[in-house]
């Protein structure tokens, strides 16, 4: 069976150069129905990545630029009095789209942040007692400037847990950068991308991901990891049960992307830095370094 993900990845790699692993992780996050947090300095292609994915998946895409003065209503929408109908009418905000790019989320106030995060968590918004469902699939890619920049509200630990993964993009390598400098405008390239995986198919795949087999041996390994994080003194707090579940889902998606019908320890290890890094130590930038003791010490067998 030809993996339906493969052409998608191929296209994505063509438009974003030298970031195969990050693209893979982003897609994995999407398949596992989680949200993605990209943490990096501006200009490394965060927006491009989000845009590309939206294009390839044929999703409604909306970018929300978070600023210090953005209000919850600017995100969710507001009820506005309609003089003709003599009633309040709800005008949905930008969040009512399938793919949201929440750009520079740490520039806004916690109030606005939490409005987005609540919507992410519940897949619905409630305005003045009325509940509005968000479209499905619903996928948020939030970007955050590294915490040391002045005038920001970095997401608190509790909110970070809402994101399935946190990835860093990093600078492109020399070749990729050369290509970038040489090539045509990325924007045009993205505009011309064809949908590789329509939303219906995406939903199917998300279903399939759920059916990936998880053996008890793997669950042992997973639990050993979770226990380890709770006991290892260098972690201020260990992985929560929700984090454990997220890790499993991400590993399932990863296994599916590798065309496997069962999760292997390697799948867990592959997604571990992105899934567990920000949950174990929020301040650290390098997720790989955070989870290194786990990969080193928790016995696979």
């Amino acid at each position: 069976m030809q993996n339906p993900i493969a052409p998608l990845l191929e296209s994505a790699n063509r438009s974003i150069l030298g970031k195969q692993h990050q693209i893979r992780l982003a897609l994995c996050c999407l398949l596992a129905r989680g949200h993605l947090l990209i943490e990096d300095i501006p200009g490394v292609g965060k927006t491009t990545l989000a845009h590309t994915l939206a294009k390839l998946l044929g999703l409604n895409y909306q970018r929300i630029q978070f600023t210090s003065d953005i209000l919850p209503a600017d995100i969710i929408g507001a009820s506005i009095f309609d003089p003709e109908e003599r009633s309040f009418k709800f005008h949905p905000g930008p969040i009512f789209n399938q793919m949201i790019l929440a750009d520079e989320i740490n520039r806004s106030t916690p109030k606005a942040q939490s409005a987005l995060l609540e919507a992410m968590e519940e897949q619905q918004v409630t305005v003045e007692g009325k509940t509005y469902h968000l479209p499905s699939p619903f996928f948020v890619i939030a970007t955050q400037n590294p915490a040391h920049q002045i005038g920001t509200f970095p997401l608190p630990e509790s909110q970070l847990d809402r994101f399935l993964m946190r990835i860093e993009l990093g600078y492109p390598n020399r070749n990729a950068e050369r290509e970038l400098l040489r090539g045509q405008s990325r924007y045009h390239l993205i505009e011309n991308l064809q949908t590789e995986l329509p939303p219906e198919q995406l939903k199917n795949i998300q279903q399939l991901v759920n059916t990936v087999h998880v053996s008890s041996a793997l669950l042992d390994y997973l639990q050993n990891i979770i226990t380890f994080t709770r006991e290892f003194p260098d972690y201020p707090c260990g992985l929560s049960p929700r984090a454990g579940l997220s890790l499993l889902n991400a590993a399932k998606a990863w296994a599916f992307m590798d065309s496997r019908d069962a999760v292997l320890p390697e799948d867990v290890q592959a997604v571990l830095p992105s899934v567990a890094g920000h949950r174990l130590r929020s301040a650290s930038q390098d997720s790989g370094a955070v989870v290194a003791p786990i990969l080193e010490r928790v016995n696979v067998l």
Binding site: H213, S215, A217, D261, A262, V263, E266, Q269, V300
Partner: protein, 653 residues
């Protein structure tokens, strides 16, 4: 502190203390046992109503009371009885003063001493089992004290396990620990106890006390055939002096050695396990030829032992039923024809009627026996009283009696007829235990017979009782027959009941056999016995004994520690075992799997290191992943994996 000692631990402890003291109800005075029970009950009530426990003053008064009680028994401080009483009283008093965990330990330790004191009174299997059980409970108390939140049943289980583990080592110690007889000064004898048994004098009628006693006297195990019942005379004290009523031993011969008789075949070899006795007599089968050197045989062929008759002892013997003794010295002749006075007219005429004085002694003996047989003499264990002139009364009036009557009367008649004669007491017969193949001789088997001295033959045993009640003497004890005859006489109609009785009988014999071995190998395992037993194993010196003790102890300890401490890292998972083997193979070649390395990563690394094995590594990894992580796998995959791992050949880099 008191509050911290849990109720159930206290309850547990008190019950075990009660259990350990219980058998002493037979051994110590009622007043002291009552004191103990009172204090124990008090303490029991104190578990639920701590307020009613005695204060310091009351405790002091109780202590004084206990001491007064001890003093009133006039037993001093040492010795078995005194010691037991002392420890019981101390235990009882300590019960009322439990303040800390330490006190619990002291009580348990005191209880162990009381447990040991039980053995000084009784050493039966039942008692040993009982004490072992109670010790288990006592140890269980210690376990309960030392483990939080464990229920008492589990504590009991733990203590039972510990005891079971300690048992082999204890047995090694028991067998190899050198036994030395305690020096005399250390022995605190209690003379107050009386035992039944043969006495050092005989009055017709005296043995009848024993006639009903079921108490075991000794047991005999033969090497080879068992002599017929008619020959099973176990020789005891010999009485040759009489005052007409009472027969006693001639003091003079007690310590002179015997002239050895001439023996002729057949010989019987056997070991005799003698129960504790009142006297030093040892009852060997007539006539003992070879006997252990620690025994002494006097000129009347009575075997005696030196040392404490209160101990069980085991002796090997060789006996010859046919023997011939030598000449009779003048003095002996006089002793054995001694009479209290001239015989009465009645007796002289009886002797004359039977041809005494003028026939050959052998003939006269036969005639007297015939006289007993033909006239209406009868054998009974409950004869009428014969007071003044017992022999005459017996011979002419009552004519009913048992062995001692017949033996006394017969000897008297012989002596009047100038034939040297004497009364021999001892045991006769014995019941064969077919399970253990040994004879059991009980007090009921006590017997008296006569020996007459005949020219050219020496001392000859004549059993006048046999003339009256031949079945008592001749019957060869055959269990089957006995049972059969009983069936006929009592239960002929009810064979079912008979079978049950049969079964019961066998059970009793089995038990008896176990008890014999218990007595022989456990209770009686003393210094001589130990030396003998260990010599049979080839262990002769004390040094060797210690080597064995240490060696076997070390062996058991290491076995036990291996059992207890080896943490078998059992991987029940066969798949994992196969894969570990694969990793071990690569590891041996220098490529170790890291703890956090998954199978795919490891495969990648190993393929790089051993490109030639790519195919094998791929297959093994694939199979392993399939078996361990995938939904479906088959047994065939497992065997294939195992096979491939075994085939894998990797050279050290």
């Amino acid at each position: 502190m008191l509050a911290s000692i849990e109720k159930n631990i206290l309850l547990f402890l008190l019950i075990s203390v009660g259990l350990i003291a219980l058998p002493h109800i037979y051994h110590i005075p009622a007043s002291i046992f009552g004191f103990f029970v009172l204090l124990l009950t008090w303490r029991f009530i104190g578990i639920w109503k701590p307020s009613c426990l005695p204060g310091k003053l009351l405790l002091f008064l109780l202590t004084v009371g206990g001491l007064v009680l001890l003093y009133s028994q006039h037993q001093g401080l040492f010795g078995r009885d005194a010691g037991t009483r002392l420890f019981m009283t101390a235990l009882a008093l300590k019960l009322l003063e439990i303040r800390q965990e330490r006190d619990l330990y002291l009580i348990v330790f005191l209880a162990f001493i009381v447990a040991a004191s039980q053995f000084l009174y009784e050493q039966s299997i039942a008692m040993a089992g009982y004490i072992l059980f109670v010790c288990c409970v006592l140890l269980g108390t210690l376990v309960a004290i030392n483990s939080r939140r464990q229920n008492t049943l589990n504590a009991l289980k733990t203590s039972a396990v510990i005891l079971a583990q300690a048992l082999p080592l204890a047995i090694v110690l028991f067998v190899f620990f050198p036994r030395v007889e305690a020096p005399r000064w250390m022995l605190f004898e209690d003379k107050s106890r009386a035992k039944t048994g043969l006495s050092d004098s005989m009055e017709p009628g005296s043995i009848s006390d024993l006639g009903f006693s079921d108490e075991l006297v000794f047991r005999v195990r033969f090497q080879g055939p068992i002599p017929p019942n008619a020959q099973r005379y176990w020789r005891g004290p010999v009485f040759s002096v009489t005052d007409g009523k009472r027969w006693t031993a001639a003091k003079r011969y007690t310590y002179t050695a015997a002239a050895e008789p001439d023996f002729s075949e057949p010989a019987y070899r056997y070991t005799l396990l003698l129960e504790p006795q009142n006297n030093n007599w040892v009852f060997a089968l007539e006539m003992a030829g070879d006997f252990p050197p620690q025994l002494h045989m006097n000129s009347e062929y009575l075997l005696t032992r030196s040392g404490n008759p209160d101990k069980r002892a085991e002796y090997p013997f060789t006996s010859y039923p046919s023997y011939r003794t030598g000449e009779l010295s003048g003095h002996k002749l006089r002793t054995n024809t001694q009479l209290p006075g001239p015989a009465s007219q009645k007796i002289t005429s009886l002797i004359k009627r039977l041809g005494g004085f003028d026939t050959r002694p052998e003939q006269f003996v036969d005639r007297v026996l015939q006289h007993f047989n033909r006239e209406n003499f009868s054998y009974t264990l409950t004869p009428p009283l014969m007071e003044d002139n017992p022999i005459e009364t017996f011979l002419f009036e009552t004519r009913s009696g048992f062995c001692s009557h017949y033996a006394a009367a017969f000897t008297y008649l012989m002596r009047v007829a100038n034939i040297p004669a004497r009364v021999v007491t001892g045991y006769h017969g014995g019941v064969l235990n077919p399970v253990g193949n040994f004879l059991e001789i009980r007090q009921a088997d006590a017997h008296a017979w006569t020996e007459v001295w005949l020219e050219n033959r020496g001392w000859v045993r004549v059993d006048p009782t046999a003339a009256v009640a031949p079945e008592r003497i001749e019957q060869n004890v055959n269990i089957e027959q006995q049972i059969a005859s009983r069936n006929i006489s009592f239960f002929s109609a009810d064979s079912e009941l008979a079978r049950q009785l049969d079964w019961l009988k066998q059970a009793r014999q089995l038990w008896s056999s176990v008890d014999y071995n218990w007595q022989r190998w456990v209770i009686n395992y003393h210094s001589a016995n130990q030396t003998q037993f260990l010599a049979s194993l080839g262990i002769e010196s004390l040094k060797q004994m210690l080597y064995w003790l240490v060696g076997l102890g070390a062996l058991f300890t290491s076995i036990l520690s291996w059992l207890l401490l080896s943490r078998k890292e059992k991987t029940a998972d066969k798949v994992l075992r196969c894969y570990r083997r694969f990793c071990a193979r690569l590891g041996k070649a220098g490529l170790k799997r890291n703890a956090g390395e998954g199978p795919l990563d490891f495969a990648k690394r190993s393929k790089k290191a051993y490109p030639k094995q790519t195919e094998a590594i791929d297959e093994i990894t694939g199979l392993f992943i399939k078996l361990r992580y995938q939904k479906e796998s088959s047994q065939a995959d497992l065997s294939r994996l195992s096979e491939r791992v075994d085939q894998l050949k990797i050279r050290r880099r």
